[in-house]
């Protein structure tokens, strides 16, 4: 009898091909990120300066809100601590996503200058390479600013905490980051076609997080409908955070929608993955 030498090519291997590709992608992502971390930390002073700049830059969003509240006690019926919670959740989720995936926005530039071709011939998933490309640790500035505001909200708010509400907080930030991530990836896929239209992506990502920093009562119903049912950003912070705050949901949605963010995030990633594949397949090199 012959002993099986190594794994036989068979059904099991095919079934696991997708999973091993995912593992491989994550591994490659980690390796590239580690490389960029080493290079970032080689210039400590520059890293500290850009991180502080990043902190201030995004901090201005909240400074604007505080300046507004120097004139009013409520905005759209919400107090400053309540808005701080919306802001903190949305900005932390966005910051986390921006740190992990923010580089995919540079895809259009790689398509234009032809350097994307280099990534295609490497035996590593392209998305992992694009996401880890020029990994910018300075984006920690954005996350720390967001977490500070979130901390301020949690300290000043008078919430009747239940175990469910406590558990919902980390879920919001993580699923929110995933929802933003799906938007980032779908936007990047769009850049396979429209090479220099990265600003469209900014409108949904940076625009989205700015929108979510204010209560839904501020915006027109159609806009709220759009970010609930079409690009489901409302699931990042509005719907779950309003449950925590014990406030009414926009559009008379039922109360259980507050617990949908993980599902919505999953659905968004399935769609984003499809869009990414279609985009990548249709890619034609500039050839120059």
């Amino acid at each position: 009898m012959e002993a099986a030498a190594g794994p036989r090519p068979g059904t099991a291997e095919v079934a696991f091909a997708d999973r091993s590709r995912l593992v491989e992608g994550v591994r490659a992502y980690g390796l590239i990120v580690a490389m960029w971390l080493r290079s970032t930390l080689a210039y400590r002073a520059s890293f500290v300066m850009t991180t502080v700049g990043n902190f201030l830059m995004t901090g201005f969003d909240f400074v604007t809100i505080m300046l507004m509240f120097s004139h009013v006690d409520a905005l759209g019926g919400y107090t400053l601590p309540e808005i701080a919670l919306l802001y903190g959740v949305s900005a932390s989720a966005f910051g986390l996503c921006d740190l992990l995936l923010g580089s995919v926005g540079r895809l259009g530039q790689r398509v234009r200058d032809g350097t994307l071709d280099t990534l295609l011939v490497r035996p590593v998933p392209v998305l992992a390479q694009v996401a880890a490309d020029q990994f910018a640790l300075r984006r920690l500035g954005r996350i720390s600013q967001a977490l500070l505001v979130l901390g301020y909200a949690l300290v000043t708010l008078d919430i009747a905490w239940t175990p469910l509400k406590v558990a919902l907080l980390p879920v919001m930030v993580l699923s929110g980051a995933a929802i933003f991530g799906a938007v980032f990836v779908a936007g990047a896929a769009f850049q396979f076609y429209a090479q220099d239209a990265s600003e469209v992506q900014n409108a949904f990502t940076y625009g989205g997080t700015t929108l979510l920093q204010y209560p839904p009562s501020v915006f027109a119903r159609d806009l709220v409908r759009g970010v609930t049912f079409i690009v489901p950003l409302a699931f990042v912070s509005w719907l779950p955070a309003l449950y925590v705050l014990g406030r009414d949901y926009p559009l008379d949605l039922p109360r259980w929608v507050a617990f949908l963010p993980p599902l919505v995030a999953g659905g968004c990633w399935v769609l984003a993955g499809l869009v990414w594949r279609v985009g990548l397949r249709s890619y034609r090199s500039t050839g120059s």
């Binding site: 520059s46 700049g53 201005f60 604007t64 300046l67 409520a74 429209a194 625009g207 700015t210």
Partner: protein, 266 residues
């Protein structure tokens, strides 16, 4: 003079090449315009006539901000990173040997860029904003040219500031940090986040006296008819004063800096 006109035309054409990028930019400016406009509506609902603006004036201010963001380069975006790069790599030595003045050369190019951005990324968001909201457009047709003069002065002040920051690369080598700080100051003190008339107390007074207020606050107030007659001339004088002072400072720094240039090998 003809040379600089050609350089300016080149600056215009250079940005006019990126048509998809311009369309995408218009889209983004419009989306942000909507988001900020609704937050201002909520604010002015609570406090009508806040900062001396009524609701439609406040909304007009929002859309002017989106229209001028790229024109007056409040967050940067223009020649400055290119210039710091040329200083870092030493290509600046070539520029200094050209039979053209360094400062005027870059100014001409930046004016061309600003003209394109005003047309390409300014007009469309403003029109869309006017369709969606009740904006306070000027009553008198003379307000439009008066506004354009103020925008032009704003662009020159913006250029002079960014030129100064870019020259700092002669000493810092890596200009990224300085550019980022300049961008932060531009965003905050131009009035892009909130009209400077809403900034409280001393902070407001200081912010209105700083050069960055020439980038958005002053042109917006000219557009909204805040300044007429001598008041308008005073507003222009404020902008022109900063423009001249900053351009002279840039000239001085340029002279000092070029003495430092050491060309390696050859």
């Amino acid at each position: 003079m003809r040379l600089y006109a050609v350089v300016a035309a080149g600056g215009f054409r250079r940005y006019a090449t990126y048509r998809t990028a311009t369309l995408a930019g218009v889209f983004t400016n419009t989306v942000f315009g909507f988001i900020v406009a609704y937050t201002y509506l909520a604010l002015w609902d609570e406090r009508p006539r806040l900062g001396g603006y009524d609701q439609s004036e406040a909304l007009t201010y929002v859309w002017l901000g989106q229209a001028l963001l790229m024109t007056c380069a409040m967050m940067g975006a223009g020649f400055e990173s290119e210039l710091t790069e040329r200083i870092r790599t030493g290509d600046i030595a070539v520029d200094l040997y050209r039979p053209a003045d360094l400062q005027l050369w870059w100014l001409a190019g930046d004016l061309g860029r600003a003209a394109f951005h005003l047309l390409g990324r300014g007009v469309a968001p403003m029109v869309l904003g006017a369709l969606a909201f009740d904006l306070a457009l000027p009553d008198s047709p003379w307000m439009w040219p008066a506004f354009l003069v103020s925008v032009l002065l704003g662009v020159v002040v913006s250029f002079a500031l960014r030129f100064l920051v870019a020259l700092s690369a002669f000493w810092l080598m890596d200009g990224a940090g300085a550019l980022q700080m300049a961008m932060l100051a531009g965003l905050f003190f131009s009035g892009m986040l909130l009209p400077l008339t809403l900034f409280p107390g001393v902070l407001g007074e200081v912010a209105r006296a700083l050069p960055w207020s020439s980038l958005l606050q002053v042109p917006a107030d000219v557009f909204l008819g805040r300044y007429t007659g001598w008041g308008l001339l005073r507003a222009y004088a404020f902008q022109a004063g900063w423009a001249v002072a900053l351009l002279l400072a840039g000239r001085l720094l340029q002279t000092v800096a070029t003495r430092r240039v050491v060309v390696q090998g050859g």
